[in-house]
Symmetry: C2
Subunit: 423 residues, 2 copies
């Protein structure tokens, strides 16, 4: 049992002084003023919920700085995908462990206490055995980050096409095979620091029947369900060519969306489809740094904000790992595109509470975790901000949240705490 008091504490809408937080084990037991007379004081610190990184492919950290030369001057998402497959082809268990553990460490450094690891690279060069799944769990445990292993089902190279080359390392032979592996993993995770979620990689990689079967079983088990959807125009074109409808329309025909569903990207989703998706309570995960690096395009965020959509954030390709920059550029990409300031705003018109919610509460919702806010019953996951960091000089209680988002460097994040354990 322990009692904390930071100089400032984020209450969900603002920073407040004098707030104490009592922990019991790995959870928050009580939050309020004057809970005890001898708290552990976090001076010069602002206490925030730990950031929730709702979408990561840890192994892609190995691509940082690669694939940034375009001799053919036709740089596209698909050329990057080829570079990624080269890395996939060379991956060994040791490499997978080192790269993932390092990526998870960088996530903690920048305040992320949970990662939703969207994991589709299952096999080494034997192309079977799911050896990398356990490696990821080990790497997360050793790094000290909370993980929801979002186990990806990957079955086709493109719609109706066999897997090719490196893709065979992603292979799930059948839905039954997938659940056998999930059952094996279920025995390895503790259900709190480590949990499982279900993934259909994309409409490209998963036949619609399989998608429906996966989702039905995920629903029965009470697990969250994620998929990549409508990131690239080509993906939509391929779906229309094969199925006569968009990936989102095909998804609606296969499953009933609900609050446990997360669509990753939704960059090019049609307005009506987006409306229906949000109306069902489903989550949208946007990955600003990766979508920019890959040249995906800019999602229709104003419509999502207007409708009260649950938007969360992911570091995705991990070409750069910074939740502050993800928050900032979620808003900034919209400003550039619309020539308008203040897109991601709450009911008062403020950007900071909306963007902090995207980085915390909404990520936790997408991953099915009691986390992302400093409230009794929630997991004791925090990050702290060093109020003496030069990048925050001049900020007061009121401007601090926006100063952190717009102006702070990554190292203004001082400490993280996962399940009551400070790092």
């Amino acid at each position: 049992m322990s009692l904390l008091e930071a100089e400032l504490t984020w209450t969900g809408h603002a920073f407040e002084r004098g707030i104490q937080v009592r922990l019991e084990g790995s959870r928050i037991a009580e939050v309020g003023h004057g809970l005890g007379s001898d708290p552990r004081r976090l001076d010069n610190r602002a206490l925030l919920p730990g950031f929730v990184n709702a979408h990561s492919h840890a192994f892609q950290r190995g691509l940082r700085g690669l694939g940034e030369t375009f001799p053919q001057r036709d740089g596209s998402f698909w050329s990057w995908r080829e570079a990624m497959y080269e890395l996939v082809d060379s991956m060994t268990p040791d490499m997978m462990y080192e790269i993932s553990r390092h990526a998870f460490g960088e996530m903690l450094d920048c305040g992320m206490t949970t990662v939703g690891e969207f994991h589709y690279l299952h096999h080494d060069d034997s192309e079977s055995g799911f050896i990398f799944d356990e490696v990821i769990l080990d790497a997360a445990r050793d790094a000290g980050i909370r993980i929801v292993l979002l186990m990806a089902y990957y079955n086709t190279g493109a719609i109706g096409q066999p897997l090719q080359g490196g893709q065979r390392r992603f292979r799930c032979a059948s839905v039954d095979d997938y659940w056998r592996q999930m059952d094996r993993l279920e025995r390895l995770v503790d259900g709190e620091q480590q949990r499982l979620g279900v993934v259909a990689h994309s409409i490209r990689a998963v036949p619609l029947n399989d998608l429906a079967a996966l989702h039905a079983e995920a629903h029965r088990r009470g697990l969250v369900f994620h998929l990549h959807i409508e990131e690239q125009v080509a993906e939509i074109e391929q779906s229309i060519a094969a199925y006569g409808r968009t990936p989102m329309a095909a998804l609606f025909d296969a499953i009933t969306p609900d609050a446990r569903l997360t669509g990753v990207h939704c960059t090019h989703t049609a307005p009506d489809d987006m409306h229906r998706f949000i109306d069902a309570g489903a989550n949208i995960c946007i990955c600003p740094l990766t979508e920019a690096n890959l040249g995906d395009g800019i999602a229709d965020l104003p419509a999502m904000v207007e409708q009260g959509g649950h938007v969360c954030l992911g570091s995705d390709s991990n070409a750069r790992i910074s939740m502050l920059e993800e928050m900032r550029w979620l808003e900034y990409a919209q400003r550039l595109n619309l020539q308008k300031r203040g897109v991601c705003i709450d009911e008062t018109g403020a950007i900071a509470p909306w963007l902090v919610a995207a980085a915390t509460i909404n990520g936790a919702r997408s991953l099915g975790l009691d986390a992302g806010r400093i409230k009794p019953g929630m997991l004791a996951d925090f990050c702290t901000v060093n109020l003496n960091d030069p990048s925050l000089a001049g900020a007061d209680e009121e401007s601090l949240a926006a100063a952190i988002i717009c102006g702070a460097r990554d190292t203004a994040i001082a400490e993280t705490c996962v399940g009551g354990e400070w790092r």
Copy 2:
């Protein structure tokens, strides 16, 4: 006299090993292999030219985190401008010194060794006397940054309109008055660590006759000439209403552009005008973080790159100070907009050399300095990158430059050196 050898040294196109750099006083005397047997070794460091921040308004650092709430839901550039005027109204010499010195310190922290300080807030509440000009020079000297004080002429509140409210603190009564102050400043600067440049604030704030007169005298004195131009659509509309032509067309009628001219922003410049501007050898300064924060829009960079335009970078409003993020998002904003990767590329198709040039050589060109490259005769201005920073783990000699731009955190910048003096 001193001899340096970093583990890696940037040669303008790539990082190379074993390069030694001999300094004499504040300049680089010699660069090559095997210049001496006992160099000062910079282990685990990559040596780069110091970054050149070609456009800053240091005092706007005081606005960080402010103006990010939009209760009317009509957030625009012009509402930010009002917030800026509030700061202007309250500015004292002490505040000006503290804010500017702090901003210059943050610039050095992130590898900027020179600032082009586009300085238009001249007066305290007495609304005359140019008291802030000397304050800026003091702040830069005390922070240890090289400065080109880009002295701004500001005469009208809008085209043909008198100055209003806080704008009176920007006032230059006449062109003669301006040059009297420039002569005074000329005696305060040493011509190397501190220099002067000439600025017409914008078409909004400077009558065209005055602009022509300022430019003629700047040309006679061999000084660089900067102006804000075509950042906002409203500015272009006002120019067309008043002059029957765009700001750029009005500029061409008033002066002959050359390599000493820098247009800051050019966000909405018409293709023909842009072509003529670049053809004359003039420089374009883009400020990605500020233009994003202000919702300015996205310049037509592909045309600039194609034509070989000299594009440099500025931290402008200093809402955030990070040359790495400016470089990264110069390219990324284009990728989002065009759904294409690899816009800012050199002749080999690589983004890193092009973007490093924007942050170094091109900034130095815009400010008229012998800086921005590690070559004999250049100013001995450097920044170093810590090769052990976690954000650079896994990068090799070849991928390092792109890894720094796409993936490094600010604190991967380890040291700076201005005119041979290490900080």
